[in-house]
Amino acid sequence: MRTAAGGRAGAPAAATPALFVADLHKSFGQLEVLRGIDLLVAQHEVVCLIGASGSGKSTLLRCVNLLEPIDAGRIYLAGEEITAPGVDVNRIRRRIGIVFQAFNLFPHMSVLANVTLAPRKVLRLAPAEAADRALALLERFGLADKRAEFPDRLSGGQQQRVAIVRALAMEPELLLLDEVTSALDPELVAEVLAVIRELARGGMTMLIATHEMGFARDIANRVCFLDAGRILEEGPPEQIFRAPRAERTQRFLQRVMEAGRL
């Protein structure tokens, strides 16, 4: 396994990795989706997962968030094994944020209620304090004027930004982004990517599954290429995108380039 001391200048090399995944296996019935994933994400590091649809990127993220039970392997969050029996999954999940491809906002709640629900009910913040913190976050991402709107009145890009703010309101140690721009119209992608760039600048530790290769190249400290449930190749973006070693990586990037996505 490669060392993952963050490449970003100024980020202190932390002793304990934010996330450590060891030999993770996951099957859905007969189909083995993850076949031994080893992955290390350092504090303040941004790791992008690339690979074809069905290569296991989304499943990996859902396993890390304990939304899917795993079959074998171990996952450590800041040194604590979260796959150990008897671990309180609710306590773990509040430390990990996840943003989904389809936003999954709560349609019966206003933007502000979406963002404050978990801080109020899980962290037990007073409503006024939860609202203050939510408004500060909404302000930061240019959504303060949408606080009273319901999700169906927002564009896809706005909904996804609200979903990111909702995850951030729990002040997670690790943010998982699951193809967050794949459901967006092309002209709305940029505003969401800008939010993620801003988070990276702020030192947020992120594990990002994405089809946006240009974005991955810009933002990632490290890129992992997933193929058939394994990490086939990983390295700094310059190396993965300019000089991929594995033949499958080369072919994947070739196809992406032909599609004009790089």
């Binding site: 968030n65 939304l67 609710n90 306590r91 999940r93 509040r94 990990i96 944020g97 996840i98 989904f100 389809a102 999954n104 906002l105 709560f106 349609p107 019966h108 629900l117 978990a118 009910k121 899980v122 169906d152 909702r166 995850a167 729990m170």
Partner: protein, 292 residues
């Protein structure tokens, strides 16, 4: 819209000249014509039916025993007064049904082997109370429970009427709720759980509020049924509208009180049925709009 006319005297041209929205005017005229046709055919059908009834051999006898104006006027105040009992039954039972039905639906929605006994009990409950005719439940509880002679058990028929209606209707209503809960996409629960909400919290704040919104029209349908079924409790001696109309019928040797009772139900129930239809339509439009 095309008209077969020549260059002159085409009525369509004339309309278009007079009004820039010419074709619209023609559409309005067509709509007017179909309304008129509907009106005429409705009148014809109803007049024919009316004539059929009025010319039936027993019409005069029926008219005398069912449509007696004097009996109607005399019995109506007491009948409307007794309807208040039905309203009370309905209101108390409805609140209890909404609560018990939701509790049953949530019990049946709990996943995992730990909750199997709860799911089993809730399933047996809904099976039993949907299988039994309501009148039987009312008879058995209304006469049986006070008959036990236990001091702590209330003996008032009204109490057992409310209990019976609640037990019966909760079984139906829990199925409506459950359908609503199951119609909420699993990604909503995933989103809630990913934020650290427990299973119960995600049900309470995310799943159930959305489910309830979705099932309001079918719930109203069940409440129309409940409103009518309040007359069943007359069997255990509650003097409500149906029992009152029976009393008036016996006192006058005339069936007109039943017609008065029927009118009371029509006046109360039809608006509720209309409201339900409006809500169903609105939901359908909304679903169509959100699945663009």
């Amino acid at each position: 819209m095309t008209f077969g006319g020549g260059p002159l005297g085409d009525p369509g041209d004339l309309l278009r000249l007079q009004d820039p929205r010419g074709p619209r005017l023609v559409r309005d005229r067509d709509a007017l014509r179909s309304t008129a046709v509907a009106l005429v055919s409705t009148v014809v059908v109803f007049v024919a039916l009316g004539l059929l009834v009025v010319n039936a051999p027993g019409w005069t006898a029926v008219q005398r025993s069912f449509l007696n104006g004097a009996v109607f006027a005399k019995s109506l105040p007491a009948i409307v007064g007794s309807f208040w009992v039905n309203v009370q039954l309905f209101l108390v039972a409805e609140v209890l049904i909404l609560v018990l039905g939701l509790a049953l639906a949530i019990l049946r929605s709990l996943p995992g082997p730990v909750f199997f006994p709860m799911r089993l009990m809730a399933t047996i409950y809904t099976d039993i109370f949907r299988a039994l005719p309501g009148v039987l439940v009312i008879y058995i509880l209304g006469f049986g429970m006070p008959g036990l002679g236990i001091e702590a058990i209330p003996k008032e028929p009204f109490f057992w009427a409310v209990v019976s209606l609640t037990l019966i209707y909760s079984a139906y209503v829990s199925e409506v709720y459950r359908a609503g809960i199951e119609s909420i996409h699993p990604s909503q629960e995933a989103a809630a759980r990913s934020l650290g909400l427990s299973r119960v919290q995600s049900l309470r704040y995310v799943i159930v509020p959305q489910a309830i919104r979705r099932v309001i029209p079918p719930l109203l349908n069940d409440f129309i049924g409940l409103q009518k079924d309040t007359v069943l409790v007359s069997y255990v001696g509650v003097v409500e509208i149906f029992r009152q109309s029976y009393i008036k019928q016996a006192a006058n040797f005339n069936f007109t009180p039943y017609i008065a009772t029927a009118l009371v139900f029509l006046v109360v129930t039809i608006p509720l049925a209309r409201l339900t239809d409006v809500l169903v339509q609105r939901d359908r439009r909304r679903a169509a709009a959100s699945s663009r």
